[in-house]
Symmetry: C2
Subunit: 458 residues, 2 copies
């Protein structure tokens, strides 16, 4: 019973789908964030659910960790093989299996990316709205309970996964849920697997809710004198029930980064809100008028509209590139990302205290926020060679997490736990963390599925 | 170790909060549906979370079943003490603990009813939208993952519970979640407890999302020649993205029942849609115009508007009384309720086959449906003394369940499993039902929490 023996048996069964070449292992040991490269012992590329079940059965038998991986957009090292074992590369299972336009749902394999899905949906009048920025796989997005810029209107993966097919730690293949829009038939296993980061089973198929493509879309940016005014505008917008599709904050440091990154951007160096409205032309006009009133009453600048599709996509490309724009401010740096989410009434306080702490520190950390949800990120920029800077960043991130919990919030709105947030789980959950460990022990007693993430059971 | 010994110890600790009087036990052994009266061995009325924890610790120690109960609106016998033990009457824990208007959330004890909550919210401009018809407790609604007429717009309890306080089977008190709008911090325990029917723990506090009271509300009814045209109208409405607040079907038999029940009702004896629109006056006008076009293109009658608050409340009172109106068609009868939910593209087929089977049977079964979700109910009316009629009703219900599963749906959209749906769990879930049992065993190894519901572990 060993990892080596597992790899031997996997190679026998799956032949060239198994690779132990150093180049491929190194590639699967990379991560987008600051964690050190952690190559798995082998990489397996399944082509089907049955392949996944075969791999998992052998791994379970040999006590060999198995860690599913999408396209590696994770920011918390979720897919790193920290105890060795198999990186299960799901990116090749990338077929859209069936679109049901009447029911507004779709069945996909986990390696389908959100952009690929929306390309395939284009002619149907439907789309999948969850947009974390990166072109992540849908399996990865479900596994981290991802969301992003559109959650304020369309919810998170939690709200948009109807059902899953999952390979369990003993190789059994189960289905959670079905194509009904709602069900009260027992424990919500779909919700249990969404956000479980591959620690309870491997997602091999997803049934997703779709939404109608909006008849019209309009986008706008406006500048404010301070973050507090931005946040007050957002609170008022949400409270009035305006079904705004995106409402995003960039602080002054982030606006500077965006201006520097994108040659078409020339925003005043002040905090900004980026907004998008979806609906019929009439509904949008009404929403715009309401929000414009609020913006002006909180001292914001007049809207600058992005009316053409090109302008809109430039605007959101800029926003989506915030991570890279921030990173580009310091060539060669690594980013320690943060991801707190607080009740919106405490958001201004959370952001301004964070910004002050970053300002007083020796490193930079521009801030962006999905402020309609109370969620924001500081991108802490560090020299990858400097242990001192890593320590500073971790201290800043720690303070953000403690503050979020003190304000009634969470250490992660959308990125998940992975490797980076484990030290804060006890503080966030108390005894409920022990219940999570009980669930993990019940479902994966051998601790074979992505061990060491979310909970620690041995 | 016994139920008697548990009752003795409980009486010592909790004095007059514990009752073994036959009258009170009988009252707590009643149910709204056709299950036989099943009195618990004792009734305990906790006043606090600590009381609940005390009760559960003693029950765990003595192997005595403990079953939480709200106000008894359950339609599947969820709260019946089928293995004896303690009925934990949560109705007295009915305090609204805190309203956070800026964050649009509220913290309540589980015995607060939805009408009580909305009364307390009236001055805030906010409301809690989930409306199962009955004035159920919020703890009960969370436990069955309830929804009702407004789910098409506002979702179900699953979508509107942010966090819970739960007493576990060993008396530990945990918190699941927090007041952040979203979180990716580990397994979604909130979603696991919502819909778990008291089998995993006792909910002692709920944090709920609130919504802004709509600026305007309008309601309408219209008649169609057949159910199929109703359903096609609904599908088109949903696909166009109209954010309709309620869209309900009553079939011809149900319209007859409503006319007979409510002296102000005089609808043509045809299938009807009942609709409600929420929003700004402009947004509502737009929605109404869109839906009116669809209604007429599917051969529906002109809208009959309920414009005043009185007319609207009469309309929805009638719809909410559908259960009692149906029951009144046959004085002294009991109702076998059904609750299937299918992908909306299969809804017309599911309803028409059901109606034909009922028509061909010796009993009546008017149909209502939350058709925007694909969910409908036939209220099968039986003579409580007739085993033959019960058998007929169960056969009809069984056919509805099998059909729902065949069409990609579920055996229960919102009522839950309780006693009545256990026989269909294996068919709906396959191996996933065994995973549910694993979870139950892990969390409540002594099978003390509402044993025999949802799963069977011994």
């Amino acid at each position: 019973m060993s990892i080596d023996s597992a790899i031997g048996r996997l190679s026998e069964k799956l032949g060239r789908q198994v690779s132990t070449s150093m180049a491929i292992r190194m590639e699967h040991g990379q991560n987008e964030s600051y964690f050190r490269v952690t190559p798995p012992d082998a990489v397996v590329r399944p082509k089907s659910t049955e392949d996944v079940a075969r791999v998992v059965r052998i791994c379970a038998d040999e006590g060999c960790p198995v860690i599913a991986r999408g396209v590696g957009t994770s920011l918390e090292g979720h897919a790193l093989a920290i105890r060795g074992g198999i990186s299960l590369d799901m990116a090749g299972m990338d077929t859209v299996l069936g679109i049901n336009p009447d029911d507004m749902d779709v069945i996909v394999q986990p390696g389908v990316t959100r952009e690929q899905l929306n390309t395939e949906l284009r002619a149907t009048g439907l789309f999948f709205p969850i947009d974390p920025g990166a072109n992540a796989t849908l399996g990865g997005m479900a596994s981290t309970r991802a969301s992003g810029t559109t959650a304020v209107r369309y919810g998170t993966m939690k709200d948009n996964v109807l059902a899953l097919e999952v390979v369990m730690g003993d190789g059994r293949i189960i289905r959670t849920g079905n194509r009904a829009r709602k069900s009260s038939a027992g424990y919500d296993l779909t919700a249990l697997f969404v956000g479980s980061e591959g620690t309870l089973g491997i997602i091999t198929e997803l049934t997703l809710k779709l939404h109608g493509q909006p008849e019209s879309i309009s986008s706008a940016v406006c500048a404010f004198d301070d973050v507090d005014s931005c946040v007050r505008t957002v609170i008022a917008t949400i409270q009035l029930g305006v079904p705004i599709a995106r409402i995003e904050l960039a602080d002054t440091a982030m606006v500077r980064a965006l201006n520097a990154w994108d040659r078409d951007m020339d925003l005043p160096e002040k905090p900004h809100l980026f907004m998008e409205f979806h609906g019929t032309p009439g509904a949008i006009a009404e929403q715009e008028a309401t929000v414009a009133d609020l913006v002006s009453s909180f001292g914001g600048s007049a809207f600058e509209w992005a009316t053409t599709a090109e302008d809109r996509s430039a605007l959101w490309r800029a926003r989506h590139n915030a991570y890279f724009a921030a990173k580009a401010m310091r060539p060669g740096c690594r980013v320690v990302t943060t991801d707190v989410c607080v009740p919106i009434s405490r958001l201004a306080e959370a952001i301004s205290e964070t910004a002050a702490e970053i300002e007083a520190s020796p490193i930079d950390g521009p801030i962006v926020g999905h402020v309609g949800d109370g969620n924001f990120h500081a991108a802490l920029l560090i020299d990858p060679e400097s242990q001192d800077e890593l320590a500073v960043a971790k201290e800043l991130a720690g303070k953000m997490n403690h503050r979020a919990l003190r304000l009634g919030g969470t250490i992660t709105g959308e990125h998940g736990i992975g490797v980076g947030k484990i030290p804060f789980m006890a503080e966030e959950h108390g005894d409920a963390w022990a219940i999570m460990a009980d669930l993990k022990r019940a479902i994966d007693p051998g601790d074979v599925m992505n061990p060491g993430k979310i909970v620690k059971i041995n």
